[in-house]
């Protein structure tokens, strides 16, 4: 079903794609003129060089510095090739600086945050878009309202809530729940998923109901399999956001044994030799960059989507 409804749209987009970029600000006719082509080429070449130096440069520098001895990095920070490659830096950072431990903590935080964001966004979007109970509009209004509350307002009261949960009076301090659960309360995700569900054909839901599928079955077997694109976008952003987070885990995970890389790196910086520290930074960057390279299209369409929804 999903394939049937999607293909025509995709095919149409693909068919028009070769025509569309033909026309930009500069017309095809102008593009053939040598002077226009020359200056455009120079501008774009310049932009490409700038992007490589500014965007890729620091990352390549970090990769080089991670396997260069401290003395050499200090003496000649911009030397292109290290005279001796020091792979031991990476191993030292991984074991002696306990980056392995914090790496695993970061993974646990990212996976848990991913799970709760997907759980809340899909069930919430499903209730608001498909099941539509009478109280749905009230809840949707309340969820939307939180979009307009800047996160700074939540900082202190949310921290105190973690220290002493309402009704049950349990403290989540120094547990991963303290990071996972608040990340689930993302109105942006709920909105994104609800909008996607709104666009799914209703007839399929009706058909499934007639065939006797209950609401859980409908969600699991019909709605979720049709929602791979949006689940991909939400997943990628959930993992990256968890990887990036600093202030919140710093507050609710004061015990170093639970802290993720982002919190530990600044704390251990003064105690590490420079080359080991830079190796630790490089190790912390590998996974986000690998994710980005693997799911580039998802990242970029998601970033554009963010602008569209906010707009």
């Amino acid at each position: 079903m999903a394939a049937n409804t999607r293909t025509p749209a995709l095919a149409r987009r693909r068919a028009t794609r070769p025509e569309r970029p033909e026309r930009g600000i500069v017309s095809s006719h102008d593009r053939r003129r040598p002077s226009v082509r020359g200056s455009l080429g120079v501008l774009q070449g310049g932009l490409l060089v700038t992007l490589v130096v500014v965007g890729l440069g620091p990352i390549l520098w970090l990769a080089k510095a991670a396997v260069t001895p401290t003395q050499e990095t200090l003496r000649d920070p911009l030397g292109l090739f290290p005279t001796g490659i020091d792979w031991a830096n990476l191993a030292t950072a991984w074991t002696r600086a306990e980056i392995d431990h914090y790496f695993v903590n970061t993974l646990i935080i990212a996976v848990g945050a991913w799970f709760f964001q997907i759980l809340v966004a899909t069930t919430g979007g499903y209730v608001l878009s498909v099941l539509r109970p009478r109280y749905g509009n009230v809840i949707f209004g309340l969820v939307l309202a939180t979009l307009f509350v800047p996160s700074v307002v939540l900082l202190v009261p949310l921290y105190l809530t973690i220290l002493d949960l309402p009704i049950v009076h349990v403290s989540l301090l120094n547990t991963f729940w303290a990071v996972w659960l608040p990340m689930g309360a993302s109105a942006f995700n709920v909105l994104l998923v609800k909008r996607f569900f709104d666009g799914l054909p209703r007839e399929i839901f009706e058909a499934a109901r007639v065939d006797g599928a209950g609401p859980f079955r409908l969600l699991w077997s019909i709605v979720l399999p049709m929602s791979r694109p949006i689940l991909g976008v939400v997943s990628v952003f959930a993992v990256i956001a968890a990887w990036k987070d600093y202030l919140w885990p710093l507050l609710v995970l004061p015990d170093p044994a639970h802290q993720p890389l982002s919190v530990r790196l600044p704390a251990i910086a003064p105690y590490l030799e420079l080359d080991v520290f830079l190796a630790a930074l490089a190790i912390s960057t590998v996974l986000p960059i690998a994710l980005f390279l693997a799911f580039q299209r998802l990242f970029l369409s998601g970033a554009g989507l963010g602008g569209a929804v906010k707009g």
Binding site: V120, L131, P150, S151, L154, V210, K244, Y246, Q296, A303
Partner: protein, 324 residues
């Protein structure tokens, strides 16, 4: 399937209790009917959203309002103190400094970070080959974890003449600069890093918006003899204005809450030159080992949120005539 369900719906209003399009709303109110219509399972499915938002979003927001007029410590019960927290914050000599610094950061971030992504995106939209490479390179810094980026740049900003940036400046006979260690150059240094880390996201948003620009207007402009600059000024930018207005206010709202850069680069120094409002909030609540002044922290965060809300309301009011 559609053909079966729609006649069913059409005949549904025929029986005595007239029902709208949705039969399960027919006899509203009775709990048994609610159960039979799957109200319970709907509630169960809604539960994760209600619980998570309730406990970790709605409850703390409400609590913020209450806490701002209370003295809260973790030992004794909170006491109502009226507007004392607000008075305390407004009388803090550091507040003026923090506000000025935050405004300075926001202004610099606009100067560095607002025109550049736009220019890059317009230029990139004219690229025929390898456009994906351009956007990937532009977005790469956004993917680097912010803490790693700050720590790396902190090393780049080394003030000795063998520091990375000072070496580069030395190639063209400039420097060495003190970067983070001087009260006047510290803030621009923070903004430079923050712009590097964020600009790629804005570029992608503009690129997505540029796809929607109606290209036949370019042809019309050419017929009227417009050159490249006039086409950009009169065709491209006007069609992007909705996105441009939004990214501007979002950037201001974002920079008003800047924390990571001053916290990790300079700790607010030198001489409080990079102390921002959010750092002040953090200091009130978590800076002292004696226990936080949670009331003052929430009061200040509510004031900041209020200012931002008023600012955005005025902004949308003012820009509405132009944005649609």
């Amino acid at each position: 399937m559609t053909t079966i369900s729609s006649p069913l719906r059409a005949t549904a209003p025929a029986p005595p209790p007239p029902s709208p399009t949705r039969p399960r709303r027919a006899r509203r109110g009775t709990p048994r009917q609610w159960l039979r219509d799957g109200g319970l399972s709907t509630l169960v499915i809604a539960l994760p959203m209600i619980l998570v938002f309730g406990v970790f979003s709605w409850f703390p927001i409400g609590r913020a309002l209450v806490m701002s007029v209370q003295e809260t410590n973790l030992v004794t019960a909170p006491v109502f103190v009226g507007l004392d927290n607000f008075v305390f914050v407004l009388q803090d000599p550091l507040l003026g400094k923090a506000v000025r610094n935050t405004l300075w950061f926001a202004l610099l971030a606009l100067v560095f970070g607002y025109p550049l992504p736009l220019a890059a995106a317009v230029l990139m939209s004219e690229v025929r080959k390898m456009r994906g490479l351009f956007s990937a390179l532009a977005y790469l810094p956004v993917v680097v974890p912010p803490v790693v980026a700050v720590l790396l740049w902190k090393f780049f900003y080394d003030a000795s003449d063998t520091g990375v940036f000072n070496t580069i400046a030395g190639w063209v006979g400039l420097g060495p600069y003190p970067w983070l260690q001087d009260a006047t150059s510290a803030m621009p240094s923070l903004v430079l890093e923050a712009t590097w880390a964020a600009a790629g996201g804005t570029v992608i948003i503009y690129l997505a918006a540029l796809v929607g620009v109606r290209t036949e207007l370019y042809e019309a402009a050419e017929v009227d003899g417009a050159g490249v600059w006039r086409k950009i000024w009169h065709v491209t930018l006007p069609q992007l204005r909705g996105v441009l207005f939004i990214t501007l206010i979002l950037q201001v709202i974002g920079t008003a809450q800047v924390f990571l850069e001053p916290f990790l680069f300079t700790g607010g120094g030198p001489n409080n030159a990079t102390l921002t409002v959010l750092m002040l909030i953090y200091d009130y609540a978590f800076g002292s080992s004696l226990g936080g002044n949670y009331g003052a922290a929430t009061a200040l965060s509510l004031m900041l949120a209020g200012v931002l809300a008023v600012l955005s309301a005025v902004y949308f009011r003012v820009t509405r005539p132009w944005s649609s």
